[in-house]
Symmetry: C2
């Protein structure tokens, strides 16, 4: 048999090692470590895996992950035992074990906290041991992933000594998934949740999804759209949700649901949903009790109320606090929470749309229950490529506040354009509200260190779907990864996250790593340059939000149009939000008012957000606004061409399937960038009446041509 | 290096061989042949692959398939050469090669025809050679797949001598895919065609799709829904279609499109779509020229006109022939065809719906161009679990007729219930129309042997989608496979097809093969038993068509309701289609009228289709109709339970992932079967006013409960 077996093996191995990669494995690839000596060093340093007998589910998951990971990375099956039997054991320990307590002290464990872990290589009886120690099972699971990431990153095990704990308690994905499997603002296929087939029929992908979340430290997911459907709260659907919860639970991922405020009417048979009506409160209490009977570890509700047509407490002349507190009281006995979204702008409020969240919510500061978290988008408008941070973060000192970031690229090229978002999120997390004086960053408000603690929440609107590679654009996996890593540790730098992800996903070829890191780190600014530079916002095409639409002027409401936002006229361009205009600026700390209020000191990347600027205004470059604007659009196009050159230089260094996947998207992105440049410059030129400066390529078609393009997108 | 390499290899191999199977590979698995001696025998008999230099695309595909297939099956890399260099060469030959002409004679080549192949093992200079010989490249490709199937089936190569040619020229899938990626009557995810990303971005799955079609002999595909969208004919979309055609071409798969009859108005800017208006004809001629400039091997149009609200020639008082011929003249210069669907029933025609196709089309016999094929669903109603064949097949002797079969299980449990459809399709293909006397089967009419030849067409409405396993239910892959095999050779038995597919998909374990074959072959009749036994039809739930809806009585039109079809009353059950009723029977040959017209001789599986039968009618079993009906529903449920026992008996004989996938669906199917039985019996009992016979389980809920169930299906 042997010769034939070997023949069989080697030839099977060939296609395996060379095989194209469809991206399904994400950053959990566990391919063999190419360097034999390193592989041997690791194999020598991990002789067996020691876990307690009858491990609980999360520990069993940690064990399975370590076994599969080490088999892949080292090409060896590391034995699993319940007591250390030899030197170089890898031990998953709990502090109650006295032997462990001796080597991991109280302070270490306090630092590890509820969900964190200690990774430590220690000398032991003349040899060594590797420890993963945590106060809870979840910490052991996160520690196992951290150790595997350490090996995948080819770092040494000698003197391994890491203590890591998440700074924010509830690290959640928000899925804007409709129950018909359409994903609102989803660009990676369709919803992963197969409602019609549940609960009996369970896609194995549910477990892979939860495992991916756990691998980057996420511990919860809101599986339904904020534009909610009350059906999800009916008994047949709760049984389906319970099936999903069962699949997610071994990976420490809890389920949350969106609550449609009018559910008591739609599925409860009541005449009203007035939050102060005892019958309504009673209905929710009964419904919540039913939910927790079905899903004992249910996390709580996310609510979009009185926003964009959603029902809410204001329909009954009640406040957001009235509505949120009623739901909060219902989930409180089960330690559930209510995440109440502050993304509101009223049809009967004609004030600058970006001011309305503060106007509505600031007066309610301090009126919310302790298990209510007001969830705020990073900017005051709506996930634009760049906007200033939302002033609401600084306006509610006595309310728990969560940050809602958007992983899916609704306004940043969806799953065609490359846009690594960590740098954008860093801008937000580092933004100083000055709420308790200098240094009151949004990160410190969200993690509770600035003031109110527990529960703390960070939410990312998911970019996942049924596409084989999960995110549509392979490189968009980096945004999912980055959100998870920042949710765990909001002090990580964009460079660190990009380098981690690139190495996990593409290996350690120096040229490939440095090239891909460079591509990622500049990519978001590139999108800003060819779509909405210098503080322009919301000038995209209507409806699907893909591509340019500066001409959009007639929609259901003024503040849905582009002209409302760019205010282009013969004099100039931009929205005056200073005292001479909407004075949205007044919602910020004096330090910001001083900086942003002056057209001379306002950073140019926010200039047109805060000011209506004359076409001839001198920019720092010495050019006029018009010339600068044109050159920014051209720069964006040039940068996409550079991205293509960079990627093409990697041909042969990464597998053909992934190379082609990205190359095709970059080719399309160049067309779209040119489309943005030509559409916007032709449109704005109608007002500026100035020629294109040298260096800017003229459009090849008249404006009308560009207005047509995106009308050919049925169903998108 | 070697020891480490071996360690690496064996441990990588382990998960590979044991790895769960997600079904993506379909029947093209090419896993190593377990029997070492057989593997050795094959490896000895195929020493090298000989193909001509600079092979054209289809031959290159054949080469690649053979190399990949033999590597997988034999674990050996068989060298590819352009001239035979040693004994046991496998030679892909063309008859122009004189050496080949000597061993494959004229008669053989005539038999192989345009697309067929000769597979032959011959003695040569004291040794042996294996030949794949064909008149065209496509034959070499089909021959390569046939040879691999031969090896996958573990058949001997000694004395290999096969000549095979398709009996029907155009073997097509019909995709009812909307351009927003919804699939009408699709139950395997969403449309594979990513319109927004094309033409630049091309899912590798496009090639895998075309390869799968080629592997079962299909050579064309209609990629858009018969409920058509004119957008597909605009220049931007034709560029996208051309990209798909480019991906399909190396596998010999040609693209066809559905033509929306009102396209000249919607995208052409004309005031009319009147087929006799010269401007309309000219517009189509220009559009067709544009299509062929973009897609030189474009196949032609499929049209649904004046049916279910679709526009058509009757809107202008013209006939179906007027409309079809106008389009046929446009594509004729390019050898294109027009497939004109006969699925019509008019809102202003109150006659029995099943009669209307003959009423409308029979008078047009002989009036269609030679490149028009009238495409007829297998039955006169609409893909019911069982109906008699469509009488239209026998009513148009001077018109080319195509059979439209439905692979997707719209009325047979979609992708939850197991229903192997080959036995149903055999009933249709073998049905004798008596059009030219006894033996004028539908198969002989469709393949042209009965009368009119060229072009001949068979169409199957696809059951494919974005689900990883292509068809939603893993075992529904067998229906895709069966359609392809029957399209190639409509004389294959259901047993042969089932056995082929089972062995290709699950291997050769005797118990597994015989059990799965048995499950497949009985499964369609089981669905008939628990849903629409004894000739009942169209009593499913409204809209989504999943599950029972015998109570459906108020819809847009009477002939969309269930009560229209079952006619249940105090006297009895069933639709009288004899002379005393609608006399649809008169559309069939006298032989059928005699057999079906008499309630005593009418086969019981069509009894209620043709007759309104009293509840007390004595059935062949001696039971009353009511008791027989009840027992059939119970039998259906019992048979599903048997399917579950059969499948459970295979645990451990097939991989866990596929075992669980099917087990979960069978568990759900049992619930649905019980739901069918209880819903229908409770409902019909209101009329029969008779008790359930012994042996039939009583419903656990009142009728109202069952009416509610399926209302909780948002978006499905």
């Amino acid at each position: 048999m042997r010769p034939i077996f070997c023949l069989l093996v080697s030839s099977l191995l060939l296609p395996l090692l060379l095989r194209a990669d469809d991206g399904y494995r994400l950053w959990l690839r566990y391919d063999p470590i190419p360097d034999a000596s390193l592989r041997q060093a690791y194999t020598g340093a991990i002789s067996e895996i020691v876990i307690p007998e009858n491990p609980r589910p999360l520990v069993a998951s940690a064990r399975d992950e370590l076994v599969a990971g080490l088999r892949g990375l080292l090409g060896a099956d590391i034995p699993v035992v319940t007591k250390a039997t030899r030197d170089n054991a890898l031990i998953l320990g709990i502090p109650r074990d006295p032997w462990i307590a001796a080597v991991v002290n109280e302070a270490d464990l306090r630092e590890a906290g509820v969900e964190g872990y200690v990774l430590r290589r220690i000398a032991h009886e003349g040899g060594h041991r590797t420890l993963i120690v945590a106060n809870r099972d979840s910490g052991l699971l996160y520690g196992a992933f951290a150790l595997l990431r350490h090996l995948q990153s080819h770092q040494s095990l000698d003197n391994l000594n890491v203590i890591s704990a998440p700074k924010i308690q509830r690290r959640l994905l928000n899925h804007w998934d409709d129950m018909n499997r359409h994903v609102e603002r989803g660009y990676a296929g369709f919803s992963l949740w197969e409602w019609f087939y549940l609960p009996e029929i369970r896609d194995p992908r549910y477990r892979d999804y939860a495992r991916a979340l756990a691998s980057i430290g996420l511990n919860g997911t809101v599986i339904t759209n904020v534009n909610a459907n009350a059906q999800i709260l009916t008994a047949p659907y709760l049984a389906k949700v319970a099936a999903l919860a069962q699949e997610f639970r071994p990976w420490g991922v809890r389920i949350y649901l969106t609550a449609r405020f009018s559910a008591p009417i739609e599925i409860g048979g009541l005449k009203t949903a007035d939050p102060l009506d005892p019958a309504v409160a009673a209905w929710w209490q009964g419904k919540v009790a039913e939910i927790y009977r079905t899903i004992p570890d249910f996390g709580g509700f996310l609510v979009k109320a009185n926003s964009e047509g959603q029902p809410g407490p204001q329909d009954y002349k009640r406040t957001h606090a009235d509505g949120a507190n009623m739901l909060a009281d219902a989930v409180q006995p089960y330690n559930g929470i209510v995440m109440w979204r502050a993304f509101v702008y009223s049809p009967d409020n004609n004030d600058d749309r970006v001011k309305q969240a503060v106007t509505e919510f600031a007066p309610l500061d301090g009126k919310f229950r302790q298990n209510v978290i007001v969830q705020i988008k990073n900017g005051p408008l709506d996930f634009m490529p760049r906007e200033p941070f939302s002033p609401l973060f600084g306006a509610m000192p006595n309310t728990r506040l969560a940050a809602e970031l958007q992983i899916t690229q609704e306004y940043l090229g969806q799953s065609i354009d490359l846009a690594f978002l960590a740098p954008m999120w860093r801008e937000v997390l580092d933004a100083d509200t000055y709420a308790n004086g200098k240094g009151t960053t949004i990160a410190s408000i969200v993690d509770g260190s600035a003031k109110l603690q527990h529960p703390s929440v960070i939410a990312g609107v998911a970019n996942t779907g049924t596409d084989r590679n999960w995110t549509g654009h392979l490189l968009a996996q980096a945004n999912w990864y980055a959100f998870g890593r920042l949710a765990w540790d909001h002090q990580l730098s964009s460079e660190k996250i990009a380098d981690e992800w690139t190495r996990l996903t593409f290996g350690h070829d120096d040229t490939a790593v440095s090239t891909i890191n460079k591509m990622l780190l500049g990519s978001r600014e590139t999108v800003v340059n060819y779509s909405m530079p210098l503080g322009l916002t919301h000038i995209m095409a209507e409806g699907h939000h893909y591509g340019p639409g500066p001409w959009v002027d007639k929609l259901g409401r003024a503040d849905w149009t582009s002209v409302y936002y760019h205010k282009a006229d013969e004099k100039g361009l931009g929205f005056d939000r200073t005292a001479t205009g909407s004075n949205a600026l007044a919602q910020y700390a004096p330090e910001w008012q001083k900086l942003w209020g002056n057209v001379e000191t306002c950073p140019e990347n926010l200039l047109l957000w805060f000011h209506h600027v004359s076409w001839d205004h001198k920019m720092k470059s010495g050019r006029t606004l018009w010339d600068e604007l044109c050159l920014r659009y051209q720069q964006g196009v040039d940068e996409v061409r550079a991205l293509r050159r960079d990627w093409d230089s990697l041909k042969g260094r990464i597998d053909e399937e992934r190379f082609t996947h990205v190359a095709q998207r970059l080719a399309r992105q160049e067309k779209e960038a040119i489309n943005w440049r030509d559409s916007c410059l032709l449109y704005f030129q109608q007002f500026s009446k100035r020629p294109l400066p040298t260096g800017v390529e003229p459009a090849t078609h008249p404006l009308e041509h560009y207005k047509q393009i995106l009308r050919n997108m049925p169903g998108f």
